[in-house]
Symmetry: C2
Subunit: 143 residues, 2 copies
DNA sequence: TATTAACCCTATAGATTTAGTAGATTCTTA
DNA sequence: TAAGAATCTACTAAATCTATAGGGTTAATA
């Protein structure tokens, strides 16, 4: 299951991506528009800022804004920050690899065999989508 | 993340699939061989039996055995029983659909747009794999 | 009839998720 | 320089999920 953190994070990024300009948007506006608990969203936006997707401005007229163009923001990176590993088991993870302590031989492990394929297929989707591609009214171009 | 239930369930199915015949195999044997908590495995095998993948025999010489040939056991079905929905959000689930109460328009939802692709790609993998395909020493045939 | 092994029910520690609360800090504007 | 607006930080808490343990019951076999 996708965590609400990821779901809200994606929605917030999309909301910012749909803005005409890059003027700061307040947390309260995003929260209201996307039906998100404001305080929860606050912590999500913070982690998106710390990982370099967003920047923020304090004080009056402040808020959050995208640091890059939507077509430069890859879902692979966003998902890894919000949801964590793309792989469903650590032993097939590219960025968060860990061997299973209960499994004597990865090469002969059924779970490994299957989850490797699942990881690759998910990765293909995330690599093929930028924030631009999932904005509303933006039909996905076939590459 | 893949739950241990699913991981153990897959391993148990694979263990049974690797047997030469279909004689009942005891829970204790599978648990020992695959490093699984016996009690936990018990409940997993029970749910696999109730969903029609396995059958069991009580008493001496009893145990669990596969009801079908490994090449007739599709990962799509196994995953749905063990892990639940294949989709990461209910609003893109084929078998467990639920609309999001916080989302006014699915067609214009970024999360929906992305997760639909992820579901399809995962589904493609699960549909293309039977238990036979993930057994050890069984190279996956290209279809 | 004794043994064996699946079956079934209950409880629980621990982790994770999803927030809510309170206050501090920083920036902008008047 | 004061006031207000907004982010930032830290602590807490409820709710759920996960993984496992315990113990008694039922059915099959020898």
């Amino acid at each position: 299951m996708l965590s609400k953190k990821t779901k809200y994070g994606l929605k917030a990024l999309a909301y910012l991506g749909n803005q005409k300009d890059r003027k700061p948007v307040q947390i309260s506006e995003i929260a209201a528009h996307e039906n998100i608990s404001q305080k929860f969203l606050e912590s999500i936006l913070l982690s998106l800022r710390k990982s370099g997707f967003l920047s923020s401005k304090k004080g009056k007229g402040g808020g959050y804004y995208l640091l890059k163009n939507p077509d430069q923001i890859y879902m692979t990176d966003v998902m890894r920050v919000l949801e964590g590993p793309i792989a469903m088991v650590p032993c097939v993870s590219l960025n968060f690899y860990e061997s299973c302590d209960d499994c004597p031989d990865e090469a002969r492990c059924s779970v490994h065999k299957l989850m490797l394929q699942v990881r690759d297929s998910a990765l293909a989707v995330y690599r093929n989508n930028t924030l631009q591609d999932i904005l509303c009214d933006t039909p996905k171009e076939v590459k």
